[in-house]
Amino acid sequence: MAEIRDPLMPVIGVITDIRIDTPDIKTFRVVTPDGKKAFDHRPGQCAMLSIPGVGEAMFSITSSPTNTEYMEFSIKKCGCVTEWLHQAEVGQYVTVRGPYGNPFPVDDVFAGKNLLFIAGGVGLAPLRSVINYCRHYRDRYGKIDIVYGSRSKDDLLDYREIIEEWATDENVNVHLTIDREQEGWDGHVGFVPNYVKELGFDTDKVAVLCGPPIMIKFTLSGLYELGFEKTQIYTTLELRMKCGIGKCGRCNVGSKYVCKDGPVFRFDELDELPDEY
């Protein structure tokens, strides 16, 4: 009995670093107590983090799979578990299980293509692992464009990494925008969907979208205007999840379970699902 690990059984993790990204987002670094990475994952996959007695919740793994030392989770304060995590300190034990879901098709569909990443707010979290994965295997991909927007410059996630690493990479173009004018910001001001249209990308790319539903909706129509097809655009979904293995029924939309069959979907696949996500 005991030798078979149950998929619901987590491993113990310990928080070794907490980075304050924005006023409501912190990034947590998690390893096992003996200092190892808890498990391998693919870009876009998720993991269940929990604090016994507080609850368990699904988060995307924001660190790249190429990072073999630890995992990172960028977490926005918005519910019980996240609020608890935000007041946790370095050295706090948590439990973690995963990886769950299907990753982005980085090794087949994305290979050799130009990539366009579009994110809003904490929506950058799931894309960060893909972006860094693609940066790591730079020669496997074409040009990379990143459009990232947030409410204000203080709400930009991973700002330092974006400026210092991503923006300085050859063949990576970073386009940042914030919603409203702000002192000390001389970059673009405006919502992501409009910015994407302004930038006017060629359709020779695969686009990956993540952000609040309203942003997704308008960015999508912007991409269609630019001539993108649904089959070129990917996103990652978020729904209530408990088991993470497609059994508890919570994230069931149509015949799909977001935790198992998602969270990465291509927009033409989403079209086949009932509009309930």
Partner: protein
């Protein structure tokens, strides 16, 4: 096929109980029956079926998964899984036997749920053929023959005799355990009973109900059907249908702080409940219409899409009998799929 006289059935129960925990339906004072552990003197119910389905045996309403001890910032995980007892469930009806198959498709699919698997491996099902189906029965709709139940052993009870036919290795083992208590016999009496039951099944009010209109490819056809509004109009949003249903398998995982540690347990949950899909960020099924639709779409469309057309309903009729407002899958099938053709 084997036989034992009906008035010796207690000897059979006692023999099985020697090596297994034996559960069977027993009448309660409220006029319904429920599964109870057999002990000397327990009388088996003559009722058609229990209010609670036997899914509890493999997927109990509440099940502790693991424990945590916390001390300061440290957390210790304790695996509390134990080997299940060997048990035998006697008197499971054909519909409920089929429901285990529905549950197997969920829990035994990769990644395998070891809690469920453990119980499944240690459980032996002795299925009992029906002779007096109720008006709420419609197992035939799902291709189930009430007169010929599956299970590890199929059993038939006539006025004076119990007939047993092992179907699996586990079943053979039980027969071997029974030894001299049972004697080999022909199947004539069983066949006669089957014929009679099947005749009755044809007379049931829901005998003509079919699933022809439903299946895995019907999402588009039914999802936006206007009928959902009227069907769900008076749904209370309670979980009766879900909890008496032998195939409903949604669950919640929760933590209970005992003061000395944390028990992580899982319990049945219902897609009919308002907070089933509630997240910190919002809820993707806000109205009862959406939640009601989810339950039936799952049974009639989504589940078949993932399981080679098998429906997630076995026609046991419990929801027909127990829904506080008498709204049920039959009414849904008839409304959406046309009067006779579900």
């Amino acid at each position: 096929m084997y036989r034992i006289a009906k008035d010796s059935i207690n000897l059979l129960f006692a023999k099985i109980a020697e090596e297994n925990a034996l559960y069977l339906p027993v009448d309660n004072e409220k006029g319904s029956s429920e599964y109870k552990k057999w002990e000397d003197g327990t009388v088996m119910s003559e009722k058609l079926n229990t209010v609670r389905s036997p899914k509890d045996f493999f997927f109990p309403q509440v099940e502790n998964l693991m424990e945590f001890k916390t001390e300061g910032k440290n957390i210790q995980l304790i695996d509390i899984r134990e080997d299940s007892e060997d048990f035998v469930v006697f008197g499971v009806r054909a519909c409920d036997v089929k429901s285990f198959e529905v549950l197997d498709n969920v829990f035994l699919n990769e990644p395998v749920d070891t809690y469920y698997k453990n119980r499944r491996e240690h459980g032996v099902i002795i299925a009992l053929a029906c002779t007096r189906p109720a008006e709420t029965c419609f197992c035939g709709t799902f291709g189930i023959d009430a007169a010929s139940p599956a299970g590890d052993i199929s059993a038939w009870m006539t006025d004076d005799t119990l007939y047993l036919e092992p179907n699996t290795e586990k079943g053979e083992k039980i027969i071997a355990l029974l030894g001299d208590l049972v004697t080999e016999c022909g199947a004539e009496a069983v066949e006669a009973q089957q014929e009679s039951t099947r005749r009755i099944m044809k007379k049931l009010p829901l005998a003509d109900l079919t699933t022809d209109a439903f299946g895995g490819d019907k999402t588009e056809e039914f999802f936006n059907a206007p009928e959902w509004a009227t069907l769900s109009e008076s749904c209370l949003g309670c979980g009766t249908c879900t909890f008496v249903c032998p195939t409903c398998q949604c669950y919640d995982i929760k933590d209970f702080n005992t003061g000395k540690g944390v028990i992580r347990y899982r319990c049945w949950d219902s897609c009919m409940y308002s907070e089933f899909t509630r997240m910190a960020h919002g809820n993707n099924r806000l109205s009862q219409l959406e939640r009601f639709r989810q339950r039936f779409m799952h049974k009639l469309v989504y589940y078949p899409a993932n399981n080679d057309g098998m429906f997630s309903c076995v026609g046991c009729g419990r929801c027909l009998a127990k829904c506080p407002i008498s709204m049920n899958i039959v009414k849904v099938m008839k409304t959406l799929g046309g009067k006779n053709n579900g």
